[in-house]
């Protein structure tokens, strides 16, 4: 313990400490980094001028406890947000991506719950260029990873986001008793936990397969194919509903507040069904969606 202390301000000490313990090359790389040197100029052998040693450990070893814990903790958290992505990539490759991500997008929130919010964006930003012979814009393996990341992140968001547990929902009786002549102009109010997702790979199906594959077993990586999914939450558990393109188009319109007629027209355009067949489909869709609590009310 120093008798008089030094002239270093708390601000300088903290900026230096953070630069050292979060440096990707560990404490030695951190101490010698440009940022740390700008704040406290010392070489690695002089670390004990700032950090005391203990009977058992050098200053560098002690700083190493914080440096190791920083990445280990955050990597563990990211893995828990993206368990199926981790499984698809394998622990080592996942860790490599996550390690890079943490350097580009360090946490700036009081909560770890936002730690993974830019992971999909990071993967898209660092997506490798198409290989020789591949068409520009072709869908490939990196897009599968990006889609899966988006999917798992949305599961987390729906789980702890706004919901309707304990609140009244639109019932089949209410829908059936709604005046038919007003139906096209009516607006269905979706529950706040309803999310629509569109993917280039069937990541929802992959998610199911990966979860059923069991410990240590891998689900085969799927070929690209468009996939549409609705997520919602009931009784605090996230529910997944595969959709076809027409269902997705319809619900997408409803989610932005369009009248039911406009939403149905969007579905009709895609479905390729004649009016009678589409009418029958629509009845079945709405019956299912109402039963699954997709809507709060109809106005």
């Amino acid at each position: 313990m120093s008798e008089r202390g030094s002239s270093r301000s708390l601000d300088v000490v903290q900026r230096w400490f953070q630069a050292v313990v979060t440096h990707p090359d560990g404490v030695e790389g951190g101490v010698e980094s440009e940022e740390a040197q700008r704040l406290i100029r010392l070489n690695r052998s002089e670390l004990e001028a700032v950090i005391g040693r203990s009977r058992n450990l050098t200053a560098a070893e002690r700083m190493g406890i914080y440096a190791n814990a920083y990445y280990a903790r955050l990597l563990e958290c990211l893995a828990s947000f993206f368990p199926v992505l981790q499984k698809a990539l394998g622990e080592e490759v996942f860790e490599g991506f996550a390690f890079e991500y943490l350097q580009h997008y360090p946490s700036k929130s009081y909560t770890l719950d936002r730690l993974g919010e830019s992971f999909a964006r990071f993967l898209a930003e660092t997506r490798p260029e198409p290989e020789e012979g591949e068409e520009p814009g072709a869908v490939g393996w990196p897009d599968f990873l990006i889609d899966l990341t988006v999917f798992e992140w949305n599961l987390n968001q729906v789980f702890d986001g706004p919901g309707v547990e304990g609140k009244p929902l639109l019932t089949a009786e209410r829908l059936q008793s709604f005046p038919a002549e007003r139906f096209a102009e009516a607006r269905l109010v979706p529950v706040p936990c309803l999310r629509l997702l569109a993917f280039r790979f069937p990541v929802n199906a992959y998610y199911t397969a990966a979860r059923h594959a069991g410990e240590g077993k891998e689900a085969p990586i799927p070929d690209p194919a468009p996939e549409y999914v609705a997520l919602t939450r009931r009784d605090f558990v996230v529910r997944r509903f595969p959709l076809n393109a027409a269902q997705h188009a319809l619900l997408e319109k409803i989610l932005v507040g369009a009248p039911v007629g406009e939403a149905i027209a969007a579905a009709a355009e895609i479905s390729g069904l004649d009016d009678e067949a589409l009418g029958a489909e629509l009845q079945a869709w709405f019956r299912l969606w109402v039963a699954e609590g997709f809507f709060q009310s109809i106005d």
Binding site: L10, E48, V50, P106, L155, N156
Partner: protein, 310 residues
């Protein structure tokens, strides 16, 4: 002279609420004196965690324990975060709000670790001013905990216990004495844990924490992944005698056993509350020494709640 515990209630022997125990607690309504919750796990929750907390707060006294206040940082206090704490405290009728004497990041970043401060006059002035500001804002009792630490700063001009004592007096706040952290930091910094505890203003101690740790022979990491070891119980006995007894809470954050095991661990504290304790009645655990890297558990100050997906 302040009243013992600053006049706040002794809530008894409590357990840190963890999501792995949600179902058990709701179903069995165990006879636990009180629960401590990690504030950050609930302040934004609009799903099951918040719902479970509401049920628990109706039945049990609740205390809010945070890990992101960053009272020692030179970044400005985050009033959006503080506002959320205040709202949750009102909603759960939290008996008090606590956090750590530490900083978690600077320049807007959060390392999600409880980083140590240099114990200097300047740091003391800085922390005291911020504690006063947030106490005015929170309008609820506020207590600060001594964290486990793994380094010391050459700039420090006073011992940790002196810093804590002066901080508590000057800011007029309560203390959460983490007995395990005293043991861990004392081992890591070659200090006397008994002196640490004896040097504090005991009437300002509002709460105790107990937890297990990982001993790597040359250093100890505060992992909260095991039983409380005998030397920590010995310190607890001392702290209990010096304070006259305060709310005691067990934290278990990794390799979490079933709820009854965690609850039974904190109930062991009763054995250390008597004046004339027979040594044979002490907890049987001994210090589990491990090689560096062996059985490595990373301490998560912020316990995560995982999504439930059908």
């Amino acid at each position: 002279m302040p009243l013992p515990r600053l006049g706040y209630d002794n809530l008894g022997l409590g357990v840190g609420l963890r999501s792995t125990h949600f179902d058990y607690i709701l179903k069995n309504q165990p006879e636990v004196d009180w629960f401590e919750v990690i504030s950050e796990n609930f302040i934004d929750s609009q799903g099951r965690p918040r719902y479970v907390l509401q049920q628990i707060a109706e039945r049990y006294p609740v205390v809010m324990h945070g890990v992101s206040l960053s009272i020692g940082s030179t970044d400005p206090l985050d009033f959006e975060y503080l506002g959320k704490l205040k709202r949750l405290a009102r909603e759960t009728n939290a008996q008090w709000i606590s956090d750590h004497l530490c900083w978690t990041g600077i320049l807007g970043r959060n390392t999600h670790d409880l980083l140590p401060v240099p114990f200097t006059e300047a740091t003391l002035r800085h922390v005291v001013e911020r504690v006063r500001t947030l106490q005015d804002f929170l309008e609820r009792p506020f207590v600060l905990e001594n964290p486990s630490s793994y380094i010391t700063f050459q700039d420090s001009t006073m011992d940790e216990w002196e810093f804590i004592s002066r901080m508590a007096e000057e800011a007029d706040c309560g203390l959460l004495l983490d007995v395990n952290n005293v043991y861990v930091s004392s081992f890591n910094h070659d200090m006397d844990p008994d002196q640490f505890i004896r040097s504090l203003p005991h009437e300002r101690i509002v709460q105790f924490h107990l937890a297990g740790h990982a001993n790597y022979t040359k250093y100890i990491i505060d992992t909260h992944d095991n039983h409380v070891v005998d030397p920590v119980w010995d310190l607890y006995r001392t702290a209990h005698q010096l304070t006259g007894g305060v709310s005691t809470l067990l934290e278990w954050d990794a390799n979490i056993p079933p709820f009854p095991v965690v609850h039974a661990e904190v109930l062991k504290a009763k054995r250390f509350m008597g004046e004339h304790l027979e040594p044979a009645a002490a907890a049987p655990e001994t210090e589990p020494a491990m090689a560096p890297g062996e059985g490595e558990t990373v301490f998560h100050p912020l316990h995560q709640i995982l999504a439930e997906v059908e």
